[in-house]
């Protein structure tokens, strides 16, 4: 299978990755080969087989809804790339 460059660019957009033309060409080949390989799963019958949702069949592990302290603001702001008076600063979106 060979993925089209348009498909690779579309998937890159969904993944928030900006790829160069050269990278896109390489990814067409690499992804195509990998997807070709994994397509072998079509050979095996999975009629009536439940998809695994947890490897040991565990179900929800709930806790009581009790408030606990989280990180202090300074612990978080000190490691942020850009933190202003009211939070993480980002480029204007409106």
């Amino acid at each position: 299978m060979s993925l089209s460059i348009e498909t690779v660019r579309y998937v890159a957009k969904l993944s928030a990755l900006a790829i160069t033309d050269e990278e896109a060409q390489r990814m067409c080949k690499d992804l195509g080969e990998t997807l070709d390989y994994v397509a072998k799963l079509a050979e095996i019958s999975t009629e009536g087989v439940r998809p695994t949702s947890h490897v040991h069949g565990a179900t929800n592990d709930f806790r009581e809804d009790i408030l606990k302290p989280s990180f202090k603001t300074e612990e978080v702001s000190s490691i942020a790339p850009d933190f202003g008076p009211s939070g993480f600063r980002v480029p204007r979106i409106i």
Binding site: T7, V8, V11, A12, L14, S15, A16, L17, A18, I19, E23, M27, D30, L31, E33, T34, L35, Y37, V38, A39, K40, L41, A42, E43, I44, T46, V49, R50, P51, T52, S53, H54, V55, H56, A58, N60, D61, R63, F71, E75, V76, I79, A80, P81, D82, F88, V90, P91, I93
Partner: protein, 493 residues
């Protein structure tokens, strides 16, 4: 080189408690060893010299006060894979995108080692975000195999494996999602254990594939591996997938079992793991090792795990799918690197991620996004999770009807040359064909060194057990290594 670095962790504990040497002596000896060898091996990304010496001083005070009541890891030097967050210590998963990231909290496994007095020497090199089988995908240079420095140590926990192999630390933590502890253990002649999924908390382990990831120890002796597991295993309220079952006393079990043989243990030998893809020397050595298990009283049983052939394809859908979701948090907003090349928020995300991630990480994110996207989810992701159910059932059937433990090779080859497989991603993925099924089934697996090939490179024997049967694996591994000794300190010269 100080002879202290050749000791096992349990010998180090004995020496510390008897006063033969101090924790400061021990830590200094290891820091010297790292200084002498790290430039060539590149196993450490960061050495925390000052804090290690400070911990060692505190350990000496503890030993003076408490003697043999000192916590199990008091004064024992340990290395931590850079995939595990360490409070106040840079953690970057060998990626540019997290360069300079200083976590505000400790990984539970690290916290537990520290609570037991461990001295953290530093953070080990790895394949970026644990994606790789050779440690060539690190943004900070490859790690070299101490056995032959033109060769890879395996991956993704190559740094931890090389560190223990070369005497830089007696014990190191790694992570294993598709074989990333067991395969480098095999390629470096060390012992590496991937516990049952959920046996060790994943809190603080940077997520790659959340249904597959597990933290586990590397050591040069089975006892040391058990020592580490003892401390890190157990329920953690911060990880809802961690298992509540009590943690056995692994060290006591090993001591009880020592010298008693393995009478009656049924060892399953699955034919699918000995196909043409496996190097003949590896196959020969593993078969000889399985024969040695028979000599210890084991009963060998030929078994079949028919879905083995589909495990690699299943993993390379599920792994990347989960990774594409887990790595979406690296957006340059709250922590990590932020690109300066942007005129909008969307461009900020895209350029941060493109500048920050290496090629293999991008490849897996793209595959993952594709297999989860509209129109493809059922054919790929849902299908893979169905095949996963069949793989789990294969193992369940074998363990309930035929055998108590399964023995296979770990890696189809011994250590390959740097650069040998980097131009073909699919060829690199094949390195994990024997280890991947164990992660898909969430079972415990251990790699023990079982011989050398004609080039003098180590070969690993994999033992796989039912869920939560780490004791069985450790006892079998101990009996095997007592019967078939391997020079685990060959590269500590």
């Amino acid at each position: 080189m100080s002879s202290l670095v050749k000791l096992s962790a349990s010998q180090m504990r004995a020496g510390l408690l008897s006063g033969e040497f101090t924790a400061k002596d021990l830590t200094s000896a290891h820091l010297d060893r790292i200084d002498a060898t790290n430039t060539e091996l590149n196993s450490f990304l960061l050495v925390t010299r000052e804090s290690a010496l400070e911990s060692a001083e505190n350990a000496d005070k503890t030993i003076k006060q408490l003697g043999n009541k000192s916590p199990l890891f008091t004064g024992i030097p340990v290395a931590i894979k850079d995939m595990l967050v360490t409070k106040g210590i840079e953690t970057k998963c060998a990626s540019k995108i997290l360069e300079g990231f200083i976590p505000p909290y400790d990984c539970t496994a690290v916290y537990r080692l520290k609570e037991h007095g461990a001295v953290i020497l530093g953070k080990t090199n790895m394949d970026e975000f644990a994606m790789g089988s050779s440690n060539e995908n690190s943004a900070y240079g490859p790690v070299r195999n101490p056995w032959d420095k033109s060769r890879v140590p395996g991956g993704s926990s190559g740094g931890s494996a090389a560190c223990v192999c070369s005497g830089q630390a007696p014990i190191a933590l790694g992570t294993d999602t598709g074989g990333s502890i067991r395969q480098p253990a095999s390629l470096t002649g060390t012992i590496g254990l991937k516990p049952t999924y959920g046996r060790v908390s994943r809190y603080g382990a940077v997520a790659y594939a959340s249904s597959l990831d597990q933290i586990g120890p590397f050591g040069r002796t089975v006892e040391d591996v058990a020592m580490a597991l003892q401390v890190i295993a157990g329920k953690d309220s911060r990880d809802s997938t961690s298992i509540g079952a009590p943690v056995p006393n692994y060290l006591e079990e090993l001591a009880c079992a020592k010298g008693k043989g393995l009478s009656g243990l049924r060892v399953g030998v699955p034919k699918e793991y000995f196909s043409q893809g496996i190097d003949p020397e590896v196959s020969k050595s593993v078969h000889a090792s399985i024969k040695a298990l028979e000599g210890l009283g084991c009963q060998l049983v030929d078994i079949s795990l028919p879905t083995t052939d589909y495990a690699l394809a299943t993993y390379y859908i599920i792994g990347p799918a989960e990774a594409s979701s887990n790595l979406s948090r690296y957006d340059g907003i709250r922590y990590g690197k932020r690109s300066k090349n942007h005129k909008s928020l969307a461009e900020l995300y895209a350029s941060t991620r493109s500048e920050g991630f290496g090629q293999e990480v991008k490849r897996r994110i793209l595959i993952g996004t594709y297999v989860l996207s509209q129109g493809y989810y059922d054919a790929y992701y849902r299908k893979a999770q169905q095949v996963r159910t069949l793989i789990i059932e294969d193992f369940k059937k074998a363990f309930s009807e035929q055998c108590d433990i399964i023995a296979t090779p770990v890696s189809p080859t011994t250590a390959f040359a740097l650069g040998e497989k980097t131009s073909n991603p699919l060829q690199m993925y094949m390195a994990d064909i024997c280890t991947i099924p164990v992660n898909l089934a969430g079972l415990p697996g251990i790699s023990v060194p079982c011989g050398l090939d004609s080039k003098g490179l180590p070969i690993g024997l994999q033992l796989v057990g039912p869920a939560l049967e780490e004791t069985r694996l450790l006892v079998t591994a101990q009996a095997f290594m007592d019967q078939c000794p391997f020079d685990v300190t060959a590269n500590i010269v």
